[in-house]
Subunit: 198 residues, 6 copies
Amino acid sequence: MNAKPISRFPVPELKDLPADIRERIEAVQSKTGFVPNVFLALAHRPAEWRAFVSYHDALMDKDPGGAVTLSKAEREMIVVATSGANQCQYCVVAHGAILRLRARNPLIADQVAVNYRKADITPRQRAMLDFAMQVALESHTVADADFEGLRAQGFSDEDLWDIAAIAAFFAMSNRLANVTSMRPNDEFYLLGRIAKQK
Amino acid sequence: MNAKPISRFPVPELKDLPADIRERIEAVQSKTGFVPNVFLALAHRPAEWRAFVSYHDALMDKDPGGAVTLSKAEREMIVVATSGANQCQYCVVAHGAILRLRARNPLIADQVAVNYRKADITPRQRAMLDFAMQVALESHTVADADFEGLRAQGFSDEDLWDIAAIAAFFAMSNRLANVTSMRPNDEFYLLGRIAKQK
Amino acid sequence: MNAKPISRFPVPELKDLPADIRERIEAVQSKTGFVPNVFLALAHRPAEWRAFVSYHDALMDKDPGGAVTLSKAEREMIVVATSGANQCQYCVVAHGAILRLRARNPLIADQVAVNYRKADITPRQRAMLDFAMQVALESHTVADADFEGLRAQGFSDEDLWDIAAIAAFFAMSNRLANVTSMRPNDEFYLLGRIAKQK
Amino acid sequence: MNAKPISRFPVPELKDLPADIRERIEAVQSKTGFVPNVFLALAHRPAEWRAFVSYHDALMDKDPGGAVTLSKAEREMIVVATSGANQCQYCVVAHGAILRLRARNPLIADQVAVNYRKADITPRQRAMLDFAMQVALESHTVADADFEGLRAQGFSDEDLWDIAAIAAFFAMSNRLANVTSMRPNDEFYLLGRIAKQK
Amino acid sequence: MNAKPISRFPVPELKDLPADIRERIEAVQSKTGFVPNVFLALAHRPAEWRAFVSYHDALMDKDPGGAVTLSKAEREMIVVATSGANQCQYCVVAHGAILRLRARNPLIADQVAVNYRKADITPRQRAMLDFAMQVALESHTVADADFEGLRAQGFSDEDLWDIAAIAAFFAMSNRLANVTSMRPNDEFYLLGRIAKQK
Amino acid sequence: MNAKPISRFPVPELKDLPADIRERIEAVQSKTGFVPNVFLALAHRPAEWRAFVSYHDALMDKDPGGAVTLSKAEREMIVVATSGANQCQYCVVAHGAILRLRARNPLIADQVAVNYRKADITPRQRAMLDFAMQVALESHTVADADFEGLRAQGFSDEDLWDIAAIAAFFAMSNRLANVTSMRPNDEFYLLGRIAKQK
């Protein structure tokens, strides 16, 4: 149990939440073993919670297939790299854990968070993160030439939408976490760091 | 009719959209007289569209009452100021129009978009926009002292959540519009500029 | 009549100004229908006023011909784009109006002010504005290669002097307007927005 | 004689210039012993030259008296500090020399150019330069509170206009020198560095 | 064993190094269980290695006492915070491990690396890191007022030298690691994360 | 003699320093004619002094030969350019003097300090300074492609280490000088400016 506040704003108790929200949170808890604090901190506003979670799932819970080539691990790389640039503690720590799990790589999250240019990634992943950082930090400069360069790396237009939309969604998410002073659960820090996790 | 593309990505036709999305768009159209391009451009991804629109409405379609003191016009000011900083053409032009209408002021949107510090606004609105810009541009620095200063200006904590969440939501929205090269409808440019609009 | 102050400094009355300045201002007034506030605000310093106005006219009141290929509308584009980057409310609003009139295009000024990269302009105009922004924001980096690239776009060296000098002149002008809190006349906001202006 | 080009653009010969310009340049030459390159480089455009020089003189050739308290040396400090920030080689070298002469101080120009915060200046001069740098680098933030703070340091409003206008004029001048690759005369480098100059 | 290169430059073998360097490295190895890559990567230049290591030790291996109040853990906090700002993967990962060990806190390093303003630190440590970041990112602004503020927090002048010198030393160190593409040993990532390390 | 303080911290007297430090300082003094203030200001911490001086000498006192092609004057160019960017008064003034002496060029130091892109240097020296500035200001972006470009200019890998290490060492040195408010000796300002120095 963590005695430190997880948000600058009031945090509802699980039992007081609308049924649909509570059920979703309990499903996460039974799978992960704990309730990630983002679910409780944002539940202060149920309507916003529902929009946030369904937007998140539409972008992150998607497997490659058809025009989509990004893996779930690659989606998490985008989150970790852009959240590092935005100095979002919650997102780097929580999604860093998810990235380690999805990539089955205990080193990758810290590498990507500090300087993705030095991370153990493929040239295609490097191009993906360069584009995600452009969207995160100077989206007003995105131009046709950027799209052409990325298509030449084998990204479909659906992939490019995904990369941009994930960077954009976490531009929002990082700001919400920074303003609410959202605290990462202690559990995230170690998750995925030890080979045989189980 | 506008011959220029409104998005870098495929734009669905209204008739091909899921019924719930089509109905919502038709409701906007019958009220406004045209379909704002954001509704069509984002409909390329129906699940994301639904989350985007319901998130937007939860933050923007809210009247003062109880702990909430922000007016709808003030919410639009936040959008215009932060979208100007992010160089988002769609959001400045479209929400500039809405701001003119909501504030019944034909000058306010251009003033806020270029330099809100010189706009015809109250000191309280100035403090609101200073905070919104901090969230938009350097949310990692938001601290207790910022909250205390804003409460001293008469903002409730619910107001502060609203200001921050609107700035955060449009951090996402600006990036989506910039990446998709979303084109503002020609109609927005003149809307609200002439006193007796009717 | 506008009750809000148009400058942080004393503003002379038209009748108290030296004859040459008064005559010039009356000529503008009879043509435009009102006295743009910049003429009154800067008249606090007559010697500087004369230098400012004659410098402005030497750069802006010039038609294409010979080695000069820039149109008057293109000169105004440079003003609007760089003034947007410098967050100069007076210059964006006033020269935005002039740009709409000169280009006979009610949309162009807002597009250029917010993000010229997304404006309805030609590739040559895009190159012109890229160079103007380089002069406005990081002139210390201008190099031979920049000149060669622009000549390849069909710009003469006289054009390049003009682009740079306009960006430089408004670097000054934007700072004067920002420091004096120069207020744009209300009339500018609507000018050139309605097709049959007359 | 200096064989290196003094401008990227054509440089007229003294004998080919309009009489008023030639006479003014010869007057400077007879006083200084050489023709500062700015006079020749800008003479490529006589009308702009006249406006530039008369604007410069209106701001820089002014002695304290009445509401004006800035000395000529202090005016040059503003030029050197802001030109250093804009990385303008011509202006730092040429006006550095003038500053040394006017202040009768061989060290002051290098100190102010590199980091005015560490220069041998008075607290009032420090406040003057802080304001000049704000005008040079972020004039959109200038506010009432800045003016009040400076008045408390004993600056009149006429002084504040002067400080701001000098910083603004050299914002233009630095950009012109950077774009034309204006070369400082070799003579400037040593001027004012040796005690008994005479 | 790690097959990835640890430096962009040639890396000497331990047996080929001068005796004093080899002995020092073996001492670290026998204490830590592995040779941190910085010792091998920098040994490409023995004279620089010796200066680097002795400078490092003079600043980092110092216990509180007399005028010195900084703990070794606090010194490592400075390294981790400034190295995060400089995006130095080696320094964040390696010194993050040392910070966890010295502070006996498995969470602190990730918190400080991403956004020290949200870390579980005391107000005095916050002031220490604010100053260290000022030295790392804009040392030209350090002024008397900064020193007075820090002394009021209980820092001695010796402490302030230490904070500044550590931030300055790692300004160098981060750049060396970034340029050489120095790779952190895999061992560092997990070090100090599990309570009963032993 | 200079009555102004040369450091914000206590400055030891020469006679009170450890013998090795005193001897080294006296050797400099007998060669140069005065004691550069950096030797006294840093001697507040003898162990750090020794590391600093030996690091400095390993990087700066090196003549071309073998894989090393950088001259001593070129090493000083790196110091002056990066110290200008870091606004370090001591380093620009002191190493500016050394650069003038080593390059036997009275103009070069001021040119490089203000804007090295406009200095009288060779294309190879320009490439050297571009790389040094990248290391000084954004070392996290240094990549393979940068190394390849520089090798194509004829730099050996040992040269590239030297350029980077000098920029890194003075990243430290500039910060130490800025924080201690280290004052350049008056003698430096004129050194090397007059042809027959002797």
